[in-house]
């Protein structure tokens, strides 16, 4: 595992005069759980969208899974998974139909889809609900299903955009078990959040303030550096300087 899975150098995105993300430079090694923190409007989503190939950067360079984000976006797309904060499942389709659909658009064969969906339903203990509409599932289950669907094609990296919004702490904890599982299988996890307790679960975190990465280290190192006991306080110290509001 020599080359980093994500590499950026002075990656910048401007919208007119507004600099949404300024000169981001960082590396994420394979299998790491990389937390991306910041207040609303700090530029987290902008950074993630550039890495996913949804937005073209204004300047700077970056590779994802070893592919250039300007010229090899199609190759990047085959190697990443993505889960948005809306859990993005089709409510009028059944659990199985959702799995089948997402596996289908990643080009999995029927045999693969069958095998994968069985394993997935077993892991999530959703076998009985396989034929139920997603609209009948509780939020926590939808969230887990949404994550499992995002990694069904075994991507090298999975991007999670505030994946735990609106979910209670117990369910959130269970969700992180899934994330650890994925990381143990060698999938790199890139997760944005604004829950500080979740930040503690990450291997390393970066904190963005006003479009700039202000801090990047492991949670324990950051706490030592700022001389505080919790990530919450680290974040507050950094966020105090923020000028952008929501």
């Amino acid at each position: 595992m020599s080359a980093p899975v994500i590499y950026t150098n002075k990656l910048t995105k401007r919208f007119g005069d507004f600099v949404a993300a300024k000169e981001l430079s960082f590396e994420v090694p394979a299998g790491e759980i990389f937390g991306f923190l910041g207040a609303n409007g700090a530029g987290k989503t902008t950074a993630m969208r550039m890495l996913c190939g949804l937005w073209v950067p204004s300047s700077g360079e970056a590779t994802v899974a070893g592919f250039d984000i300007y010229h090899e976006r199609e190759k990047i797309k085959r190697n990443i998974g993505y889960m948005s904060q809306k859990f993005s499942l089709y409510e009028d389709l059944t659990v199985f139909e959702n799995i089948k659909f997402y596996a289908g658009i990643y080009g999995l064969t029927n045999a693969q889809i069958k095998e994968k969906s069985q394993a997935l339903l077993h892991q999530l203990d959703l076998e009985k609900e396989s034929g139920h509409l997603v609209s009948s599932l509780p939020l926590g289950w939808r969230q887990k299903l949404s994550f499992s669907v995002a990694v069904i094609h075994e991507p090298r990296i999975v991007f999670l955009d505030e994946p735990t919004g609106g979910v209670d702490p117990v369910t959130r904890r269970q969700f992180w078990d899934l994330i650890y599982d994925a990381a143990n299988k060698g999938i790199t996890v890139f997760v944005t959040t604004h829950y500080m307790d979740e930040a503690e679960y990450c291997d390393r975190i970066s904190i963005m303030v006003d479009g700039v990465i202000e801090a990047l280290d492991s949670p324990s190192n950051l706490k030592t550096k700022y001389g505080v006991d919790s990530m919450d306080e680290v974040f507050r110290q950094l966020a105090r300087s923020a000028k952008r509001s929501e």
Partner: protein
Amino acid sequence: MKQLLSFVIKEFHHVFRDRKTLLMLFGLPIAQIILFGFALTNEIKNAKIIVVDYAKDAASRQIIDKIEASKYFDVENSLSSHEEIEAAFKEGKIKMAIVFPLNFYEDLSRTNKAQLQVIADASDINTATTLTNYISSIVMDYQNSLTRGIKPPFQIQTEVRMLYNPQLKGEHTFIPGMMAMIMLLICVMMTAISIVREKELGTMEILLVSPFKPIMVIASKFVPYLLISLVNITSILLLSTYFLKLPVQGSIFLLYAVSLVFIITSLFLGLLISIKSESQQTAMFISLMATMLPTLLLSGFMFPIENMPLPLRVISNIVPSKWFYIIVKSIMIKGSGFQTIWKETLILFGMAVALLLISLRNFKIRLA
């Protein structure tokens, strides 16, 4: 290809799971046509009328008999004086009154001129016009029977032939207008809503991050609505042929081919609306404004375009349904071939290309 197929299957799931939409998609055209066939017709049968006959002579008798014999009128009763007429109209029971003056036959036989008063309830213009036309032709008919054998010195006969629609049936304009309306509703509104729904749900982001190409997302949105539109055209045509007894005069193949061009134009319009709107409500509202109103007002379906002021006539040219309406009318009723409708078809085609180009441009801007 397999990816596209699984996407199209998913789209069909959306359509068939939503009962209300399903009912609208397939039920609306059928309901509209059946309703129209039964209820909305320009032909008036058994209209109740009253007669005030001061003459009570041979001529008035004969005319009244003729009126009674026709299927259009029921002579309700005969009043003795015409003061009572207005009261009868106000009661709302009768549609028309006919007054024969004194000495009707005498005038007719001595001076060759007689007068007959026809009073119609013009609060309903269409009925009044139609009924007075019926009466005029009955009187004309009687007059012709009198002058048989006698040749008036000068006579110009206007022989009127109502081409393509001899019975002046309303269905002839209704069916083409209906087809335009249904297809616009399905292709523009349903397509726009279904694309915007993916945006609202956040699934669009996932699709854009996946290797599935955006152009394929759009293509798979189009397929179900295109097929549903074709099913609807077929059901409208079947109903019109067997239920309204209005078969297609021209080539069915040509009619389908041209409808396909119109469907594609509508799909692209739906796409453009979906790109421009952020919520399903907005998409629905814009679609209705962009399809229903112009089709009702500016396609020539309800109101003749020739009588409109210049600005409206100019605007009507950018309404796709106007061109489609002209084409369908020509093929269905006049039996025209491609040589008479190629211009209109080309205009629709041009609109499709323009809408596609604008959509693609806007789509790129959103991604950048």
